[in-house]
Symmetry: C2
Subunit: 217 residues, 2 copies
């Protein structure tokens, strides 16, 4: 059964998944890299970025789920590029010629463009669709494997509100960003649909897993 | 050195410390008892309320810090009673004739009244003062011991914003209340002043401790 999964989606203690003032120089705005330092410390990240070293352990174990069993990703427009990328026909995403997805990736945007085939198996498809429609498109090409919801917070909230998320891994970082885009707004009672576990890691973050019995279809 | 402490202050995953619709019947509004079930499961709570049983372990260890070394409490008006208690000259708090504080307690209110001496060493003092002034009043009677900030979220936020909190224990419960009063609003960068630890408990909550080097005076 194909499941819809969210993986190592990171929020501050006050619930912000991204800061204010997103730009090419600051993809997460005033948050900078503070939300993701825990991830950059893992051995998985070091391997992905061609650096030696990095830490094993629970944080590394969680991030290594990233690609397992995933057949396609869906991401919001604000993840694909800085504000205004839609006006730049040459923008191909943040990730260079060989993005780390290696599957079809559906970018939700009100201004669709032609698909973009990258090295390594990643193809970006640009679609203007509500959550259910995007999921249908992703499943059609995922070969029965799971769908990753890649964020940002706005699209995730929409999928959660629509009841379309089966498994969600959220990482809580003990910083207070104060401003930006919140993940948790408008989701009263979300816990009723999930078994939830919390586990703190020696790396200084807390991992939350939301697991729903049975997949969303 | 006398420290200013916050103890087992509980918030939902979306940061709410109390729900909407506070009343005599529902002191935490639509949140009901869901924020505090973890605490009611401890042996400490069972002892306090005259019930047998209850669980030991990390949750119990944390709540047992409640009275240790505390010389006075400061609480917000909305903790002392349901909306409108100021109009009821006979209202003496939620806690019966022998409240669990056993120290002077300063209730912050714009409508002060005469002090209320209860059994067991608790005296309620009603004062109209900003955070620093309330702290001064509490310290004057605390015999050199620590001051507990009893909440709710509004008064806590004010003390945090004023830089007057030395130690804070916050308990995170994995539910989404969606509405109510938030603890974390307007506290960007709070983490800079504290060493922060997070530890999840088998009881299903996560304990956060904020510790400042050196007391606030």
């Amino acid at each position: 059964m194909s499941r819809v999964r969210v993986q190592h989606f990171t929020v501050s203690l006050d619930g912000f998944a991204t800061g204010e003032g997103l730009s090419f120089e600051q993809p997460f705005g005033h948050a900078g890299e503070r939300l993701h330092q825990w991830m950059m410390a893992t051995r998985w990240w070091h391997e992905l970025t061609g650096q030696p070293g990095g830490a094993g352990g629970i944080d590394d174990t969680f991030v290594r789920q990233f690609a397992h069993g995933i057949g396609a990703e869906i991401m919001g427009a604000r993840k694909f590029g800085p504000p205004g990328w839609q006006d730049d026909p040459d923008w191909k995403g943040w990730w260079g010629p060989n993005p780390p997805f290696h599957t079809p990736v559906f970018v939700l945007t009100h201004r669709p463009r032609a698909p973009l085939e990258m090295e390594g198996g990643t193809t970006f498809h640009f679609i203007d669709a509500p959550p259910a429609g995007a999921l249908e498109a992703a499943r059609a090409v995922a070969g029965g494997q799971d769908i990753r919801l890649g964020g940002g917070p706005t699209m995730l909230r929409e999928f959660l509100a629509a009841g379309l998320v089966d498994d969600m891994h959220v990482v809580l970082v003990p910083i207070l960003l104060g401003r930006g885009v919140r993940l948790w707004d408008g989701l009263e009672g979300l816990e009723k649909d999930y078994a939830i576990e919390m586990v703190s890691s020696p790396g200084g973050v807390t991992h939350l897993t939301f697991s729903r019995a049975g997949a969303s279809r």
